[in-house]
């Protein structure tokens, strides 16, 4: 720690210009705070960015669809005015199979389902949407703390109870029954079609370290549905220019609100004086003072890296250290010389969200390999060809394919340096099964393993939620006990990233909740 601390030129420094950092900065600046956002990379967005991976080919670096950000946030920050446009909305989900026609699950009635599953699906979708809507208000505010006598905490718990009770007795019972279940059992109860089960289970395990049989997978599914329900009528949306366009619009909202953004300004450490965060020191050696520091980086990087264990208690450090934050999802980007043809998929749906998750057992087997430091020869994927809707992403006549791949371990036997090329070949071979001839179209490929995600986006462990979304790391104990409600044991230091409630995905709730919390604390002080 330096003896002389720089003067507080800002009210708040925000570390990281990922979407949560930008959202937090925008709300703080709109409330009149003097805010500076510091970003290590040359551009804003963090993992919500668009990058060129082969000359002429651009793709969303991380998430590739927008469907979780609350409508109210986009409206409050006027993202459309700041340039956000959509190349496509209401994308259908198309489950691909080797031996049968694809199954199309869109906003309307499903196609490709036979027998009682068709009706059961509509009933299931309505029920889950209702449950999601019940839980969604939890996303809107800091979770209550347990074991305090504060009125706000008690009211928070009461509100939660009331929201669940309002479902009516049968639905409340059902929510409480399924809440902690695994998605495998839930979908077995509702459906007999393995293809439908696989497609629905995929949403529960996407971005997690879970297979469909893992406990807590109904919770992850409900979280996704809760956010999706509040994101407006657009459904699965494809921003024009990729997810980087969302970040660019957020950055526009930040600067319009009067805050500054500095890129290529990596923070080396958080400065502390008199047991209070008082600014940051950049890697260049420059020191910037502020009254508070908010980090959108993950909890481990923030607390153990930038702040340092010496400023924290041992028990707390132990909890942060044990936070499960290894990623298991990877991104595959292909530059294609021509249009891939997914077998039996109607032309209108080739640009949809294509799933390779033909059954829950297929997913579970793909997950099994990951437990032993391997990836499955039959991986699960979520694929889109964004250039079908947004031709500017690829040179004329060419296409870009973006896929989220489950499950690629952080570490594999033999290491990723040796394993990368064989893995890409396995993934292309899997695609070839569903889009014959695609391998001959490949002009370039990029694979982002969890390790690459860790290095490129500075996310410890490379998990897109900055920490597993599981019961023991959820809601009032997220990320860890002692750092809930966006605060940390260090006065003046807050968290606003995906590691906090309600987690990752391009939502922005964490950033907005953190800003509200900081503003509330300021008012109280």
């Amino acid at each position: 720690m330096s003896a002389a601390t720089p003067a507080s030129r800002y009210d708040v420094l925000v570390i990281g210009a990922g979407h949560n950092g930008l959202v937090c900065a925008a709300y703080l600046a709109r409330a009149g705070r003097k805010v500076l956002v510091l970003e290590a990379a040359a551009g804003v967005g963090g993992a919500a960015a668009t990058h060129e991976f082969v000359p002429g080919f651009r793709v969303s670096s991380g998430a590739h669809l927008l469907h979780l950000m609350p409508e109210s946030l986009a409206r409050e920050l006027a993202l459309e005015r700041h340039g956000l446009e959509f190349a496509a909305t209401q994308l259908p989900t198309v489950a691909l199979f080797r031996e049968r026609a694809p199954l199309v699950l869109g906003p309307g009635a499903p196609s490709g389902l036979s027998g009682p599953d068709g009706a059961a699906y509509l009933e299931y979708r309505a029920m889950m949407a209702r449950f999601g809507a019940t839980l969604q208000p939890l996303f809107e505010r800091a979770p209550p703390r347990l074991g305090t006598s504060a009125l706000a905490d008690r009211m928070g718990l009461l509100r939660l109870g009331w929201q669940i009770r309002r479902l009516g007795r049968p639905r409340m019972r059902e929510l409480l029954r399924i809440g902690a279940m695994n998605v495998y059992d839930l979908l077995q109860e509702h459906f007999s079609d393995p293809g439908l089960q696989g497609a629905l289970a995929f949403d529960a395990v996407l971005g997690t370290n879970f297979g469909p049989r893992s406990p807590g997978t109904v919770l992850t599914l409900l979280c996704r549905l809760a956010a999706q329900g509040a994101s407006g009528a657009g459904g699965l949306m494809l921003p024009r220019g990729g997810l980087g366009a969302v970040s660019a619009a957020l950055a526009g909202a930040v600067t319009a609100a009067g805050a500054e953004i500095r890129t290529s300004a990596p923070v080396a450490r958080i400065l502390v004086q008199d047991d209070r965060a008082c600014g940051v020191c950049l890697r260049s050696g420059e020191q910037i003072g502020a009254r508070s520091v908010v980090s959108s980086a993950d909890p481990k990087s923030t607390l153990l890296g930038l702040l340092g264990a010496e400023h924290l208690d041992t028990g707390f450090v132990r909890r942060v250290h044990h936070l499960r934050s290894r990623g298991l999802s990877a991104k595959l980007h292909l530059a294609l010389k021509g249009l891939p043809q997914f077998r039996a998929v109607p032309a209108a749906q080739q640009g949809g969200r294509l799933l390779i998750a033909p059954s829950m057992d297929y997913l579970e087997r793909a997950f099994n390999s990951s437990k032993y430091g391997e990836y499955s020869a039959s991986p699960a994927m979520e694929i889109i060809v964004p250039s079908l809707h947004d031709p500017a992403l690829a040179p004329r006549g060419a296409q870009v394919l973006s896929a989220i791949v489950q499950y690629l371990p952080y570490q594999i036997g033999g290491g990723w340096d040796r394993g990368r090329q064989p893995c890409i070949e396995t993934l292309i071979a899997t695609l070839e099964d569903h889009a014959p001839g695609i391998s001959s179209l490949v002009a370039g490929a990029e694979l982002l393993t969890p390790q690459d995600i860790e290095q490129r986006f500075h996310i410890h462990g490379g998990h897109w939620h900055h920490g597993e979304l599981a019961f023991d790391q959820f809601f009032m104990v997220r990320p860890v006990p002692g750092a809930t409600q966006y605060s940390t044991p260090m006065a003046g230091l807050y968290l606003c990233g995906a590691g906090t409630h309600p987690g990752g995905g391009v939502m922005g709730y964490a950033g907005r909740n953190a800003a509200r919390r900081i503003l509330g604390l300021r008012r109280a002080a």
Partner: protein, 400 residues
Amino acid sequence: MNGNSLPFFQQPLLKTPFHERARALCQVDSFVPWAGYTTVDVFTTVEQEYFAIRNSATLYDLTPMVKYRISGPDALRYLNRLVTRDVARIRPGRVGYCVWCNDSGHLIDDGTIFCLAEGEYRLCTAERQLDWLLDSALGFVVQIEEVTEHIAALALQGPTSCAVLKRLGLSGIERLKPFDIGHFQSGADALMISRTGFTGDLGYELWMDPAAAETLWDALMAAGGTRGVRPIGSQALNMARIEAGFLLPKLDFVSAERTLRTGRDRSPLELGLAWLVDFGKGHFTGRRSLLQEQQRGATRQLVGLDIEGNKPAHHALLYAEHARDHEVGSVMSATWSPTCKRNIALAMLAAPHFRTGSTVWADIYLNRELVWERRIARAVVVERPFYAPERRRVTPPADF
């Protein structure tokens, strides 16, 4: 059958390097387990051993004391984050008493830090702490190694202890000040000696290679002569440490990592160890909780009691002076102090009864030939230590 092949809960207690000598002298065959070792509770009679501590010199086998070697470039920063006092003030060649807490500011254990050289420390504790020490090392470049079995240790305590060491030929021993460390040669064996102890009297602790243990024991016993060297067990030591006002884990506090019931852990402020807590040195584990506790004010405190009569107030419940049905605390450790001729105890008392000079009532139970009797004795809160002879501090010590 080889003991090491058994699961840990079936393994016999370990024997210290002094075990054979101790067994030969232990007339009443009274052994107790301590940190996985078997150690002597009483050699002859408690009274005989106690009076030896206060009148001649005594040998006490300290080997089971758990010892950690802590070294590396961050050793000092690491220790300062671990314990509540400022370790930077423990210079090379010095020893410091310290305590460490969990996040909520409750005591995990107490111990002594030996600064052997810059960046080279030894931490001695009553109980095993490796788990906590390693977790505390996250983020620090420091090596932590348990060295308990590699070091044999003896406490030589009592007014004639310096004279005995001089008779052993350790020239310069008299120059050692309290909490100093010195290095000596006894015959062929290297010996590290610290002027420390658990009796509150003049005394030393001797640290050596286990291979040299028996030779040194024999040399010390022979060097005693008219100065009188006698081995003692834990019971006599316990009387002396209560007189000196020292705390013992499990008796005066339970490690916060081991309490099961809420409210059973204790903070250093409650244990009367506020002098060990340095809020100004920078962050340490438990600091924020302790600051809050300090601002709230203590709700209870460990204090010394002077109790009327001569019946030790073992485990006695304590009642308010003017409301004898109002329980305000209980006795942790108690003994009749033969040297002070006082009936003394360490007790935990609720506010405001812990103020020095306050009076409470002790409810003492006595078993007299299998008939239980009850005494309600007046007890006054007094300053600790109960017994602090000037000779414990004088350098060079007088030639008793």
